[in-house]
Symmetry: C2
Subunit: 548 residues, 2 copies
């Protein structure tokens, strides 16, 4: 007992104070001169540190990541990087340059090819792949950061931050480092005397640096309606009638994709014709999708809580304060952690898409040679075992008369039976199984597990998997809508009638949908210009989406 | 399209501004005079409003709840209350007095008897019962609050709040109302010129009122080691050796209870003798339990993230900054939302207890005539379907060779076969089934579902349920450790040997534990005074725990 008593219990704080002391040569306050950022990082970070680098879905701490990649690997090495998104080339340069050697992450979309190659070449040590919120959770348990590098719009001289529409994950990363004697460094687009509002208090921030250019921000959730196909419209009609309408789905999440954009754009037309307004799609956990504008303007939507912002939607959001979460300044307050929590527990339905689905309904977006990670989908695309409240749609999934039976979340996969390039979506075995072996993962990187999926929708029809009683019945229902893929070809078409009669599958005609009605003319907006019109000019699309 | 265009999109904001305008008769700034709080609430709240009232596990907005209960029911009625915890008599007086008529909540421990009676008498309309984080999630989706009534330690004149060790759920409630044009009113213990740190920015807060006395705060997580029994020590030895040690559990959550207090107090003695230090119990999601002090002082614990604070632990926490999350001022930063998120996704094990368990392992704390709700247990006590990262303990639960097999969370129930009063814990049917009918709930209020439970520990032994292949085998394993309860008596003792051989159950002797060794002398601290000694006098127990 005596020996233990002599240890210091404030080692992290003492280390922090020492590093801050050394900063006196660079700055006398909390503002780091822009041109001295590399030197500052070499002073504030130590070899072996756990560094959380903000790379959201959209907003990137791009000035800080570029600066870190320029550090001298003789001074900074063995860093353990924690990044929710590996999006920029320099995120991987850190490993090529010998500055970092280990990574824990969630999503590596844009860098998935290089990432897989570097892993194979032994150029980086893999920690684990997570969903966003899983990774955030670990920041408070066993991945407590030594340093957080984050991005904000504006700061004042006291270090208070304005993150506005793109608040995203910034408060969570700052809380993890700032309250564990870690060092928090924020890049900002500008220093101002007065902030529109405070998103993160200055007492949580150690240093601020004005970036040489605004942080990188991608309009990831903008889908131009021009690219929506008739097949996507057919599927959207099936979803609206055969799932949202049938079960009375009032709260939901939509992700990125033309499939879900088509659904959003059919609510004011096809949805209206079915008399579903006010009965479905009232409460949303999703980013401010431009394709949701017509549904909002037509009075379908009561509320939208956002993971992040969307470039061009700022004025529209500020003018629709009853719908969106905004600060007293009128601009959006997004929050990735809280929106994922809401998307997991408080909404009734998740809809996603996939590159591959096996005969049991397991799905994956891994393809050989690419390691894309998970992002947020698995967090929302499963039946949350800790949910206890009920709703109409949730109860509608209850097929059991056991006195302890409960409802479940609707987890919907919408796919066409073949991807671009004529690759079948329905496959005997997921590429994820091969990736597990190639990369040496402990488990195969499955995005959504089959036992969580309640519905699969293809251009052939809907499989109501929640109604199936056995794995065999489940396989049959999936095969019946899998077209001429290897899985679909296994299907005994004689069983189709029985599956339809029992309501385990529905073809478009069973839903009173004529394939010939599935036309682009049904879309409430057929292009970006019409979205702008619906918004009364408030939506300001980025240049690359403007064609007029 | 034209009609929709004419609607106002800022109705909530306009309503808020009107109410704030009316406050000019009461205050010219954001500080409400203490004696005018009832009048202020009658001005700021309108009939039919959704009011979220802070009642954490520990901290209660007691001044505001008492004031609201004094409102004139001719002015304020039909309120829809949202309360994570229904703890104080006036929480239910609101319904008796005709001010509120509907409630959504998580936990009603201290008021569970009256709550059930009022429901039966039709004096309140039940919304839904949630876990804490489920309820928080709904605040951003379909239970967006009109008004939030919260509690903080200190405010400055700009409305910035210091919530310190008892931050708990305050930031989440404030974010939900403050960013949806709701009205946020904070009671504080004192107004100061300078805060130790800012926990919640003033721009999120509308009004502050200095309470007539400090908010209610209960030392809920303090367990006096004097009350720990030899049976609890025996069970704790089994848990340490047969679960934590066997599976290498490094990160975990403990709740309230003498069972888990016993485990904490055996780490530096029995755990040390097994050579487990550094191999188990390094990272914790739990409140600052006084009974964890000896394990911390002996170097077992690397980190603790807290849901809330604990009365008397302030100085100890401030002196152990490497272990706890603290602000630059040295005091704890708790956060119920983030700690629940971490407890769900980032820790490997949850351990709980229960009043009833059925033959399939489903458990409930509902007893006839009492409606206690769920609190946080179901959120942590289930296998999170959205988890994708692996760890030693998680992988150890994998019993399947399927290429898509994954690990799972360890969910442990520790119970004695009989409760106080000689009521069997293992029962044929849970009282929750009756409660479902009595109260008219849509589903039975099950705390932890059997299919999530990996281990049950009784004074008889451990059932390793994760290893069972069928419901029949599961029932046998549970019955084998259920003693002479109705479930235990069904057990064919001839099967016991087979279950032991196959590792489906373990008796103390199988774990090399002698029942006669399970003595209080093994506890690292036998009373509160010894906890204070271990803490070098830093722990300052509340008066009711002092006996010296």
């Amino acid at each position: 007992m005596q020996a233990a008593k002599q240890r210091s219990w404030n080692r992290r704080l003492e280390a922090k104070q020492k590093r801050i002391e050394k900063m006196k040569g660079i700055t006398s306050n909390r503002i780091i001169p822009t041109h001295q950022i590399v030197e500052a990082l070499e002073t504030l970070i130590m070899p072996g540190d756990r560094v959380v680098l903000e790379g959201n879905n959209q907003k990137q701490a791009s000035f800080l990541s570029a600066a870190l990649a320029q550090a001298d690997p003789k001074k900074l090495f063995n860093l353990h990087m924690i990044m929710s998104s590996i999006s920029r080339p320099e995120h991987l340069d850190l490993f090529e340059n010998g500055i970092a050697d280990k990574v824990d992450f969630s999503y590596a979309g844009p860098q998935s090819l290089r990432m897989a190659q570097m892993l194979e070449d032994g150029k980086l040590a893999m920690g684990e792949i997570h969903t966003y919120v899983e990774l955030y959770g670990r920041l408070f348990i066993d991945l407590i950061p030594s340093v957080a590098l984050v991005a904000a719009d504006k700061a004042d001289s006291a270090g208070n931050l304005y993150t506005g529409p793109n608040t995203e994950e910034t408060p969570t990363l700052v809380e993890a480092a700032g309250f564990s004697s870690g060092i928090v460094i924020a890049q900002v687009n500008e220093l101002v005397d007065e902030l529109p509002r405070v998103d993160i208090p200055g007492s949580w921030i150690d240093f601020v640096v004005v970036a040489d250019q605004p942080y990188q921000l991608e309009p990831l959730f903008t889908r131009d309606p021009r690219h929506i196909t008739d097949i996507q419209i057919l599927q959207a009609m099936m979803v609206i009638r055969g799932i949202y309408g049938k079960h009375g789905v009032k709260s939901l999440n939509h992700g990125i994709g033309y499939n879900t954009a088509a659904i959003e754009l059919l609510l004011p037309t096809y949805g209206e014709s079915l008399g579903l307004k006010g009965k479905i799609c009232k409460h949303w956990a999703l980013n401010p999708h431009p394709t949701l504008i017509p549904a909002i303007e037509s009075g379908w939507v009561e509320s939208v809580h956002c993971f992040g912002g969307e470039v061009g939607m700022e004025k529209y959001v500020a003018a629709r304060r009853d719908i969106f979460f905004t600060g007293h300044d009128g601009s959006l307050r997004s929050n990735r952690t809280l929106c994922q929590l809401a998307g997991q527990y408080a909404v009734d339905l998740f809809v996603g898409s996939s590159l591959q689905i096996d005969e049991a309904g397991n799905s994956s977006t891994v393809t050989r040679g690419r390691l894309a990670g998970f992002g947020g989908a698995p967090n929302m695309g499963h039946d949350p075992g800790g949910r206890r409240h009920s709703s109409q749609a949730w109860l509608d999934m209850m097929t059991d008369t056991n006195p302890l039976a409960r409802g479940r979340k609707l987890v919907v996969q919408v796919v066409e039976t073949f991807q671009n390039g004529n690759k079948p979506v329905f496959v005997e075995s997921l590429d994820a199984v091969g990736a597990k072996k190639d990369i040496g993962l402990e488990t195969a990187p499955v995005m959504i597990y089959g036992n969580d999926v309640t519905h699969i929708v293809t251009e052939e029809g809907i499989a109501y998997l929640y109604k199936t009683d056995s794995m065999e019945e489940r396989r049959q229902a999936i095969a019946a809508i899998a077209g001429v893929t290897p899985i679909g070809l296994k299907h005994d078409v004689k069983k189709t009638e029985k599956l339809r009669r029992e309501g385990l599958i529905a073809l478009p005609e069973d839903l009173e949908i004529r394939r010939t009605d599935a036309k682009r003319s049904l879309l409430a907006a057929k292009n970006v210009e019409e979205l702008v019109e619906w918004s009364e000019g408030l939506y300001e699309p980025p240049a690359k989406f403007r064609s007029w």
